[in-house]
């Protein structure tokens, strides 16, 4: 059946997107606000002959992902902020062992047990490593239900291309909201590259394969780190971003995910008040569109960064423009979501 437009909940779209993206194995532990993801996959995966396991914890989930990814399969887990924190050790091992996989974080308010309401407080964790050591994941930030459906496939593709973990960084609004999206429940299988490094049994192979993140020799570990860093540099060509009404804008608003939706509405309200505001939305948070922001900011009066956090991505925006343009910040925390009118007010303040 071809893809058809249907009213879909973000988390359900994400689950169907994982299937369309060729996910072979899903491992997860319940946590709000992403529970529809494992719920949908618990019946959609087995009926396609694919693997679904409800793990005993997030720690077990990420290590099951490690095993299935090492075996050469497209493997993923889904969780929310505190659960993703528990996965950080495993994510570091996965990055070092160069295993492609997908980790979904439908963010909720923190720190601590926090709340179950939407937040963007895990940007640092997602983009700056999170676990121990020098590593990165590809980080994708959807802003609507359509992208919740499309990004798992993109994430798997990038993860396979660079042999690295990919993270889909959503939030409680995107997970729970319903809107029309073009969804297919029998998408054609994606092209998955050969994985000659996989530990899937030798089966006639002349040598054994080993998946490992232990490099005991300091020079060996340094060289492995240099290789990883070169890979992260090479990923820059995968940078994705979106702009709206930026050409004539005097105020550039930078926001990702659900904040970008609010920010775009805020920009439109500001234009009605005669203030030219435009939006730049990073789609990949790693690699971060630093050059594109610097380029776009060149003739702007000010930049306003909007996040559901105390100000995390704003640091990368400031680094991107390196003092050339003043950068303001507007953020809400704890699950509080600003209205477009409130964003508009901040744009008006910035313009004065």
């Amino acid at each position: 059946m071809p893809a058809k437009m249907q009213l879909t909940k973000g988390n359900e779209a994400l689950a169907m997107g994982a299937i369309a993206g060729g996910c072979d194995c899903f491992f997860g532990y319940p946590i709000t606000p992403q529970n529809e993801v494992p719920e949908v996959l618990s019946y959609e995966m087995p009926k396609r002959g694919r693997v679904f396991v409800q793990a005993e914890s997030e720690v077990a989930s990420i290590n099951m992902v490690y095993g299935a990814a090492a075996a050469g399969k497209r493997a993923m887990t889904s969780s929310s902020s505190p659960g993703v924190s528990l996965m950080m050790e495993g994510l570091s091992y996965i990055a070092c062992a160069e295993l492609p996989c997908l980790i979904v974080n439908v963010m909720r308010g923190g720190p601590g047990l926090g709340s179950i309401t939407p937040s963007q407080g895990d940007y640092f964790q997602a983009c700056k490593g999170g676990g121990h050591g020098d590593y990165h994941s590809v980080v994708l930030a959807p802003w609507n239900v359509q992208e919740m459906y499309e990004f798992p496939a993109l994430a798997f593709e990038l993860a396979d291309r660079y042999r690295c973990p990919a993270m889909l960084l959503a939030d409680g609004v995107l997970g729970a909201m319903m809107e029309p999206a073009e969804i297919s429940d029998d998408a054609p299988p994606p092209n998955v590259p050969e994985k000659p490094w996989a530990t899937n049994g030798r089966n006639g192979r002349a040598h054994k394969n080993v998946v490992n993140s232990l490099v005991i020799d300091p020079y060996g570990l340094r060289d492995h780190n240099l290789k990883l860093q070169a890979k992260y540099k090479a990923m820059e060509c995968e940078t994705r971003w979106d702009t709206r009404d930026v050409d004539d804008a005097e105020i550039l608003v930078v926001a990702y995910g659900i904040s970008a939706r609010l920010a775009l509405s805020g920009c439109k309200l500001a234009r009605k008040k005669g203030i030219k505001a435009g939006l730049l939305r990073p789609i990949t948070l790693f690699p971060f569109p630093s050059k594109q922001i610097a380029e776009c900011a060149r003739n702007k009066k000010r930049i306003l960064v909007v996040e559901l956090s105390a100000g995390q991505m704003v640091e990368d925006v400031r680094l991107a423009v390196n003092g050339d343009v003043p950068v303001d910040f507007y953020g809400e925390m704890g699950g509080v979501i600003p209205s477009p009118a409130e964003v508009c007010e901040k744009i008006v303040e910035a313009a004065q």
Binding site: A70, G201, L214
Partner: protein, 277 residues
């Protein structure tokens, strides 16, 4: 397994190739390194039985003909380099998580033979959650568990399996039950779970016991290959260096003291159960 070609190769290695091959055709190789074991020298301390257990696993992989379809999962601990000693595909897991990693591999590739190799710190301390749930789910994996009652690699700290009164670097006056609890008996604990198909404990202290171990290992492997459930063999293993004993005294200590806390024997055997069979 034994062929004229193998025996010639073996003799050539020993004698530097000085014996003419035609003189050896009637000789029979009676002992050699299993094909599934690499020729890398073990890094283990004198008197440790990790090497023995590695060899037994490699023998089993050869015996079952699984070298081409095995994926082994290594622990963190003394056996952290176990991936260097087997000729099969290997994965190095994070501390304690080998059963979760093995679950991922086995669910992804149900027709492969998947084993974990874990020490008592790895399995009974940090990884207790993973082994309990893998057992409860009846994962079709085989667990080779080494219990030497101490954290060997990190320098001899107390383990959950250390005996009451045992002196370690974190229990210098001897393990005190009031402060640190009692040893965890893994086989007794896990044998309550329905997903376990085979579970046994043996002391790796004598040729006789090593033969018993082989017997147990065969069953723990069959538990997986016959799709019955999780198989586990716990070996009581000496750690002469961290116990502060000679290798000989360490073996006596197991046979006299350790077995009182950890009685050897078969705890679960659903292979022999006519109802299950």
């Amino acid at each position: 397994m034994t062929t004229a070609m193998n025996s010639q190769d073996g003799m050539k290695k020993q004698n530097g190739g000085s014996v003419a091959a035609e003189d050896l055709v009637d000789l029979k190789c009676v002992f050699e390194r299993p094909q599934s074991l690499s020729d890398k020298p073990f890094h283990y301390c004198p008197g440790c039985s990790h090497g023995t257990y590695h060899r037994l696993i490699a023998e089993m992989i050869d015996e079952f003909g699984f070298m081409d379809r095995t994926v082994g999962i290594c622990p963190v601990g003394c056996a952290v380099f176990a991936y260097e000693y087997f000729e099969t595909d290997m994965i190095e897991a994070s501390h304690g998580r080998a059963p979760a990693v093995a679950t991922g591999v086995k669910r992804a590739l149900p027709d492969r033979f998947v084993f974990t190799y874990q020490g008592d710190g790895d399995l009974a301390s940090i990884g207790m959650g993973e082994i309990i749930h893998a057992a409860a789910r009846g994962e079709r994996i085989t667990v080779f568990f080494v219990n030497n009652g101490i954290f060997g690699m990190t320098g001899g700290q107390m383990a959950p399996t250390s005996l009451i009164g045992q002196k370690t670097t974190t229990s210098v006056d001897g393990r005190d039950a009031r402060a640190t609890g009692h040893p965890i008996r893994v086989c007794e604990l896990l044998s309550n779970l329905e997903g376990v198909a085979y579970m046994a404990r043996v002391a790796l202290t004598s040729p006789k016991n090593i033969n018993t171990c082989r017997k147990y290992m065969r069953k723990a492997i069959r538990a997986q290959t016959e799709d019955v459930g999780l198989g586990l063999v716990e070996v009581l293993s000496p750690c002469p260096v961290q116990w502060g004993m000679s290798p000989g005294d360490a073996l006596h200590h197991i046979e006299e003291d350790v077995v009182k806390e950890f009685p050897p024997g078969e705890f679960v055997d659903k292979l022999a159960d006519p109802v299950k069979a």
